[in-house]
């Protein structure tokens, strides 16, 4: 099922990246979109609250006034409030499915996964509370069923449902409680959202501006075309017969209706428990368990690995033996062994005058020394006819190893940002290869979140360690095509080789004149 889901996402990714560009692709920023929808709901909620009357008779009437007497502001605000909530429900669901399909939930990521589950409950509770406040037929329906659902738990002495027996048992105080909950639950949700991203450095909580603008425009169009309206007012003396439901958030109510509260509780709690243990189920992707190791001898305390770690696994402490210096420390509970830190370390340079290359920080499964020897050995056996290509790739993006040939040396590693820029310089300067290709996950969708961004920035000299100016840029290509772009990468490497051949010819032809 996971493979199918992943395939589906890959196909959708391609379409969305073509239409939206990878920077605006909503599928790459579902978490950030969820944050964005939350803020829209919060802002419009404050507006609605100003005009809302907290009483049995005032509630419905005040919302009718907001909707009809000032529909151009109030009506649109109300529609935004409803549609942004629903959009958040959908984007969070897609976000969950995507993290699952792309294997981004096990290992230290368990924290984000597990803290995501209460967010689902809070989000649904907030939305249900909102529909309740409208006090129309739908509200009456959910009030009674929610009360019966909660009454199933042996917590309260007096059944909550006895507040909704008929019109005479309804009290204004209950409405105050509901308003309080409809503010409190979203605040708890917001707090939960921040806990959810606590272990993620530079978490993306804002979508691309273009995507945000497009979403707002689309939501405005829907709000004008189909404004959010109330149903007939609630009347507890008459039972609700046919009721229009918001199927995004109220989909469990028909289940409570037909199964009763007990079985519905069993289903919801069962599903939540199952979701919670997903990071420890055998079907998870085995992560590289050995965590990054710091070698104090070679660590100068520059902090570049700290700046680049996508999971806040690196901190600094006083150096073991160089007084006045600092040294990196890795928190084993947070490290995903991506190796981005090794690519950031200034000691990871093959130009260093040492007998055996060592570095300040590296992952045991793929030491920088190993990367160097693999690079040299694989390049040494290439034939000299066609331009020789050093192809570095990652285990989550385009599949590079089968692309090895007598003119292409291919090495795959956990994350391509493990390749220190100095390696590219070294390979070209020592004439071990004629060109270097670094490939990886799709742009904007790095398996380790920031690998391709950091690598791009190092190569464009915006981030340390930089790719030195002397490196001929026309001999280096960064290609972010992802697993689904494997065939395209192969074609692009052929094209790169053709370009390099032409360039060599041009250089040779130019030589006698120059």
């Amino acid at each position: 099922m996971k493979a199918l889901l992943k395939k589906g996402f890959h196909q959708a990714d391609r379409l969305f990246s073509n239409v939206f560009t990878p920077q605006w692709n909503p599928l790459y920023q579902l978490g950030a979109l969820s944050f964005f929808y939350f803020w829209i709901v919060a802002i419009t909620g404050v507006y609605l609250f100003i005009f809302f009357e907290t009483s049995i008779h005032g509630a419905y009437a005040s919302i009718e006034r907001i909707t009809h007497e000032q529909w151009f502001v109030g009506g649109v605000m109300r529609s935004f409030h409803r549609y942004a909530s629903a959009a958040m429900g959908i984007s969070v669901t897609l976000h969950l499915l995507r993290e699952y399909a792309m294997d981004r939930y096990s290992g230290p990521r368990w924290f984000s996964w597990v803290t995501g589950i209460p967010l689902l409950w809070l989000l649904f509770a907030a939305a249900i509370g909102g529909y309740w406040l409208v006090w129309d037929q739908q509200a009456q329906y959910i009030a009674i069923l929610t009360a019966e659902f909660l009454d199933w738990l042996p917590i309260m002495v007096d059944p909550m449902a006895s507040n909704f027996l008929n019109e005479s048992t309804l009290s204004n105080r209950l409405f105050s409680l509901l308003v309080f909950l409809h503010i409190g639950i979203p605040l708890a949700l917001l707090l939960g959202m921040f806990i959810h991203i606590k272990r993620i450095s530079a978490a993306r909580t804002n979508p691309a501006k273009g995507l945000a603008a497009g979403t707002l425009l689309a939501m405005l169009a829907v709000s004008l075309w189909k404004p959010a309206l109330s149903q007939a007012p609630a009347n507890l003396d008459r039972a609700v017969t046919e009721v229009g439901l918001d199927w995004v958030f109220l989909n469990t109510y028909p289940l409570i209706d037909s199964w009763g509260p007990g079985q519905t509780w069993a289903l919801l709690v069962g599903l939540s428990c199952l979701l919670t243990i997903v990071p420890w189920l055998p079907s998870r992707r085995p992560e590289q368990t050995p965590i990054a190791v710091v070698d104090p001898e070679n660590c100068n305390g520059c902090g570049w690995c700290l700046a680049d770690c996508p999971y806040e696994a690196v901190t600094m402490k006083e150096h073991d033996f160089k007084s006045g210096h600092q040294q990196s420390v890795v928190d084993p509970d947070l490290c995903l062994s991506c190796g981005i830190c090794a690519g950031a370390c200034p000691s990871s340079s093959p130009f260093r005058h040492v007998d055996e290359l060592t570095t300040g920080i590296s992952i045991p499964g793929f030491h920088i020394k190993e990367l160097l020897s693999l690079t040299e050995n694989k390049l040494a056996v290439l034939a000299t006819g066609a331009p020789r290509i050093m192809l570095y790739g990652c285990d989550h993006g385009s599949v590079v190893e089968p692309m090895a040939s007598d003119s292409v040396a291919a090495i795959s590693m956990p994350c391509s940002a493990l390749v220190p820029p100095a390696f590219v310089d070294y390979v070209l300067r020592k004439n071990l290869a004629d060109g270097v290709v670094i490939s990886g996950c799709c742009e904007g969708d790095c398996h380790y979140r920031l690998g391709n961004s950091w690598l791009e920035q190092r190569f464009s000299q915006e981030r340390m360690p930089i790719l030195r100016t002397r490196v001929p840029r026309e001999r280096v290509r960064l290609r972010w095509l992802g697993e689904q772009g494997t065939a395209q990468l192969r074609e692009e490497i052929d094209a790169f080789q053709r370009d390099l051949t032409a360039e060599t010819v041009v250089t040779l032809q130019e030589a006698p004149n120059g």
């Binding site: 969305f16 073509n18 239409v19 939206f20 560009t21 409803r82 549609y83 629903a86 959009a87 959908i90 329906y141 009674i144 019966e148 009454d151 002495v157 007096d158 059944p159 449902a161 006895s162 027996l165 008929n166 005479s168 497009g214 979403t215 425009l217 689309a218 939501m219 169009a221 829907v222 075309w225 189909k226 959010a228 507890l236 003396d237 008459r238 039972a239 609700v240 017969t241 046919e242 009721v243 229009g244 439901l245 918001d246 199927w247 995004v248 109510y253 028909p254 209706d257």
Partner: protein
């Protein structure tokens, strides 16, 4: 892709996202109560009779009591559970024992149930025993009722069953 066709594509994809949302937030309607049905709710909140009677405290030996001090009276706190029964046209819809609340079973007993019943004429019988010392119903209400479709009839208890 040309810029214009890209924006057009985006508009289509936004529509693909928001149209189902606009539809799902209104449709399809759900039938909670079939036509021709009505609802009967029963909610009882009542403290059962205390089990046992007050008696004198005989725990301290006579010699230890100071002069002129009479033995204190001890009253039990535990209350009888409610035995409730609801019959419609002679058929039992509900029969249960509702325990008192509180750690010492000394609180009120509280219950609520909702039933879907066909609209029309019925014969309703409600019986309750709230005294463990007595056999049979201590409270009873037997009445013919007539329910319109979607009507909500509520039975509560306050010094006797009441129908609203």
């Amino acid at each position: 892709m040309a810029k214009a066709s890209r924006y057009l594509g985006q508009a289509l994809l936004y529509a693909l996202f928001f149209l189902p949302i606009a539809w799902l937030t209104h449709q399809p309607t759900h039938t909670h109560l079939e036509p021709g049905m009505a609802e009967l709710k029963i909610a009882v909140r009542h403290a059962g009779k205390i089990i046992g009677q007050c008696g004198t405290d005989n725990s301290a030996p006579e010699v230890l009591l100071p002069e002129h001090v009479t033995r204190p009276e001890i009253c039990p706190r535990e209350r009888s559970p409610l035995q409730l029964e609801l019959l419609l046209d002679g058929e039992t819809l509900y029969r249960a024992t509702v325990a008192p609340s509180g750690l010492h079973n000394d609180g009120v007993s509280s219950m609520y149930r909702r039933f879907r019943v066909p609209a029309g004429r019925h014969h309703l019988a409600l019986r309750m025993n709230d005294d463990a010392a007595r056999e049979g119903a201590t409270w009873e209400l037997v009445a013919p009722i007539e329910l319109a479709p979607a009507q909500v009839l509520v039975a509560t208890f306050k010094e006797g069953f009441r129908l609203q």
